[in-house]
Every structure is written in C-alpha cells, then in structure tokens.
Symmetry: C2
Subunit: 339 residues, 2 copies
DNA sequence: GTGAAAGCGCTAACAT
DNA sequence: ATGTTAGCGCTTTCAC
C-alpha cells in the first residue's frame, strides 16, 4: 500500500522513466505497444504521479485558492457553497486542487492575506462574492490570475464570472407586468452592490419598455444588508404608503421571504392580493408557503465556468480581463398570479 | 516578486542552505548571531519554504482532506461549514492545508473515492457528519489517520470528535422539568443516527433522574430526516393525541422550528401554552419568533479539535482510536417558560 | 556550530 | 521511438 513511483512503473514495464512520463502525458510519438505496456503497469501498480514532485519541477503548486468573506460562507442560504462545489467539481478535469479559505468581512490593511497567497502555494485565485476593497488592493502586487465570481470590482484588469442580473430583473418584472399590469414595487438593500443595482435597472427597463413610467414611491431601497428582517420592514413601508401594490419584485429571496411574512401577518393574500418574485433561487421549495417564484441563478455553473476560465488563463499564461456572463431563468411557482 | 528560495536566503546571509533549513526549523544548536542573520534575510526576501519541495523530501503532502456528503454541505443550516472553518483555522498552526470535497450522499461501491485519496495527496482525512457505510469500507485499505467529526461509526479503529449529546438532551430536559414539571415531549427523526438517539437518551435520563417515568405517547420518532416539515407533522401528531403537552424537546433546531410553526398555526402560545427547546443552535436569533432556546454545539471548536488531534496523530505517527467529547451549553431564549 | 552532498519523484532538454 | 541526465527546493545524514 505504499505509493509506487515512476521508477516502479518503469521497472515493471521495462522502459525508462522518461518513457513513463511521456505516456502519462499522452504526449509524444510513443509506440502503441510500449504505451500499452506502460499503461498496464500503471494500472497494476495503481500509480499516481506525485503532486509535490510535479509541482517542484513545474514551479506550479497545482492549487487554486477560493476566497470569500466569512459571513458569505457561513450564511444560511447555500449560495456560495454551491459555487464552490462547482469549482471543486470542475477542478477534477484540470487536475487542480481547490483550497477554500475565508477572509474577515471587515478585512483591512492590518489583516494578513490568506496563507496560501503569502506562501505562494496557489497558481491562481477565485474570489467569490463582494470582498472589501482593501483586500483587492493587497492582491494587486501578486502576479497570478484572479477571477471574481458574482462580484466584479470595476478594475479592468481582472476577469469575472457574472450573473446576468439586468436580464433577471427584466424577466421578473416583465412577468409581473403581464400578470398584474401595474403597481409593481421593487425592494432592495445594499444598493451599492453592482448585482443589486443591475437588478433594479432590469426592473426599470422592463417598466419603461412596456410603456410605463417609474414611480419612485414604489421603490424601497436601503443601504443595509438585504435580509429577511429588512424585507419585512420594506414591505411595511411600502404598504403604509401605498395600499394598491399588486406585485413586489424583491432583489433577493431573503428579502422576498421577509416581505411575504409581512403580508401574511397583515392579511394580504399571496398572490391574490399581491404577487411576489425573488432572486437567486436559494429557498428550498417546501420551506415557505406559497412556494416562491424567483430568478434562478445557476450557482454550480458559475463555479464550473470560473474554474474553466482559470484553467484557460493558467494554461495560456494570461492574466485576464475576460468576462463570462451567466444567463438566468425565471422560475414561476405559487407566489405569483398567473398570466 | 518571483519567489525566493532557500538558496537566495543562504547567499544573502552568507551561510549554507543547510543552516537556513536548520534556522527555519528552529531546530539545532545554531549560534544566536547566525540565526538572527538568517532570519533577517528571510524577512527581507519574504522567503517561504516551498510546499512542494518539502512535501517531496518528507513524503508528505502537507494536506488534510475534509470530506462530507453533498447534502450536508449544501444544506441551509451552517453547521458543517462552521466545523470546516474551524479546521481551516487551526490548520494554520500546524501548517497544513485543508482540501474540502463532498461525496454523494448515496455513495456506493461503484463510486470513486475523492481524488486526493486516490492520488495520495493528503496525510490524513477528516470526515464530518454521517457518511454512507460503503464509503467507510472503502477507506479501510488506506493507512492515513482518519478522524470522524459529529458522527462516529462504531469501529474502534477510528478516532472521533463528538458532541456530548446525552448531556445536551439531559440539560434541555432538566430545564423543561424545572419550568413546566411534566408532559414533556420529545420529537426526533433519523433515530438510527447515534447523535439523535443519544439526545433521546439524555431526555429519558433526565426524566427518570427526576423521579418521573417515560411516557411513550410523548415520544414521536420517525426514520426520516429531521427537518422542518417533519417537525411540523410530529407536533401535529403529538397534539392530536395529547392536548396537555407543556413542553417539547426537539432533536434539532430544524424540527423545533417546524413544530413552532404548527403551534402558531393552531393557536398554541409559545411558551405560555407550550415551551420548546431545539438542539444545535443554528438558527439566527431574529429568524424566528419567539427566539428559540436550544443546546449550543460549539461547531468551530469541533473543527479546531479535530485538526489538533489530526496534527497530533500525524506527528506521532499513530493511527488513532482517540476520542474527544465536546461539551454543550444550554441557551435559554424566549421559547421556554422561565423557571 | 556549520557545510557538503545525496536524494525525494518528476519533467524536459538533449542524446541516441 | 526511447533513454540519459540535470535539476526543481528542500531535508537530512555525515563530516569537519
């Protein structure tokens, strides 16, 4: 059960270690028979090349860092965990290992960068979700490729894998327009976040495109984090000012659920009195009644796309500034009036 | 910005690379002055030993695998993510990297083991949560240390970091006995799981110790997963058979929340009509009304303890059969009548 | 107390 | 088409 090395394979197959290496890389003009001989030995010995040895000579670690803030990782909606699983899954293809670590959500200049960066034990990093700008600045002096997922600081030099938030907002709002016509509200938080403002832009675009006009009294925006409690409060403010709201597009599922709770507590029937659509699709189907219509974000796919892009960047030794836009999908469940 | 090596340090400090190595390991009888000289060079050059090179000569990867089933990792309560963060955090001390991967919750003999096992790219693995027994069997032929966290298959050969579930169940039940005296129900699912049956045992022990007797009609157990919906249904069955239930001890927070929902829907006041205590402490304080009393499980600590134990096992080249019991704490919030 | 040198498993340039 | 060899950065005897 002790690990076999390239030498063992070479010995068993009666070839040199160079030949084994070539076979492993499916690389050169190796005769069919030696190839088979070597492959047989590899299987028999259960040989796997040593990651360390390979890393040493190639001056590559074979690892990719995956970084997100602790509150993103630890929060209840399994959004970033799905993205991580996507990268982990795709990493198998390109033979990378993924090292996950979190940074403080209040990361500042005094904080140290993750250990694998300091020790140069990664070939590139994937940053998921919004991270403090002081963190991004510290990254500046390192020369490995960096890919931002679901959040892209407006620096042209970095690559990004991003959700088509504008179109998501548009899809949701268009559906609501078709089903309830008008008096469609938007609730959102953390509006500085590009994703959220894009969702709002999609909402506005849909309304204007349909010939309607933007009513600021139907838009409730706060700076705070868009969670359940803030969704509840937003709905309260909205209905206090405006009895005839027919639909709400919430900037994410968490706020949508908070708003639904407010409606339930106040005898507003969903969807008969008021429809509601969320965003992200992170609520399990049976967790809330009625089931929440939403914009599905393909989270795993974002992870796989990020990893694919990373493999591409590393293989071709480019730094980046590539952009991938991930399409979204409208999921109609029970919280919306039918068209 | 290119990585400096041990050679660079040696050159700058005017010593041999062997000396540098010795200083790095704070190891030998090195004169104070050379040590300082070398340390200065290390700082100046921002030298970090190459993980690969070290791994190659030591025949160790310097990595620890962290494995759990996909549904555990992706589920909404951030239980295992906290445990992971604990291991990741503690790994810094012992200079390990942690490789997280999931396995299929229906893992069977046809499934492949995680890549880092096949490639022998880990020095030990931590398994978090219940995993299929066919997975455990496959692990058998490998010789690295294995530590189970929060679930321990009854194989004496493996180490475990486990929650003191019996005491947790006891603490919760004792509190309920003191505050409502009797008619205290237990609801639980997945009773095969040692953690759950231990919690039930704690419940029984508390009742017997207080001079009461076990009433099977107050115990609702299902085989299915202990989630919200099943908590709701359990409460329903309980109250259908038994109008005078004064308190419920739920085997976890998810079931507790389901049960609370049932009580709310049926006009049973919490805690005035019926107290309820959960287990795990995974519900954020404001997510539910009234705030749920529970047994807090120190999740991060379980991770750090597992990693400490792992470092110990590897350092001393032992396979295991060590056991660590993690104490729990009763957290009283608003869902329980005061004593 | 410090240095020289062998060698970990592999890749790649160069030979044959 | 295959073998020989240098060397990646480090640890670890063994000399001195």
């Amino acid at each position: 059960m002790t690990n076999s090395t390239i030498k063992d394979v070479a010995k068993m197959a009666n070839v040199s270690i160079a030949t084994v290496s070539l076979v492993v890389h499916d690389h050169a003009r190796i005769s069919k028979e030696t190839k088979e001989k070597v492959l047989a030995a590899i299987t028999k010995l259960n040989y796997h090349p040593s990651h360390s040895a390979r890393g040493l000579v190639k001056r590559k670690s074979g690892n990719i860092g995956f970084i997100l803030t602790d509150d993103h990782f630890l929060r209840t909606e399994p959004f970033y965990t799905h993205i991580f699983i996507g990268t982990e899954f795709e990493a198998h293809e390109s033979e990378f290992y993924v090292l996950l670590t979190t940074i403080d959500s209040n990361f500042n200049d005094d904080n140290k960068l993750p250990r694998f960066i300091l020790e140069r034990n990664i070939d590139g990093i994937i940053v998921a979700g919004k991270v403090p700008s002081s963190f991004i600045e510290k990254l500046n002096k390192y020369h490995f490729p960096i890919i931002f997922v679901d959040y892209w600081p407006c620096t042209k030099k970095y690559s990004g894998v991003l959700v088509d938030n504008v179109n998501g907002g548009k899809l949701a709002t268009e559906y609501l327009i078709k089903s309830v016509n008008k008096n469609i509200a938007f609730i959102g938080g953390d509006i500085e976040h590009p994703s959220i403002s894009d969702r709002l832009n999609g909402y506005k675009k849909a309304i204007l495109d349909s010939g309607g006009s933007i009513n600021e009294r139907l838009i409730d925006i706060i700076e705070d984090y868009p969670g359940r409690t803030n969704g509840y409060n937003a709905a309260q403010r909205l209905f206090d000012n405006n009895k005839d709201i027919k639909a709400i597009f919430a900037c994410n599922d968490a706020m949508a659920i908070g708003a639904m709770q407010y409606m339930k507590d106040n005898g507003i029937k969903i969807p008969d009195d008021c429809s509601i659509i969320g965003f992200d699709d992170v609520v399990s189907d049976d967790a809330i009644e009625p089931a929440l219509s939403t914009i599905r974000v393909p989270k795993m796919e974002m992870g796989t796309e990020a990893m694919k892009l990373m493999a591409h960047l590393i293989k071709n030794n480019i730094k980046g500034n590539q952009k991938v836009l991930i399409p979204v999908e409208l999921i109609i469940r029970k919280s919306t009036k039918r068209i």
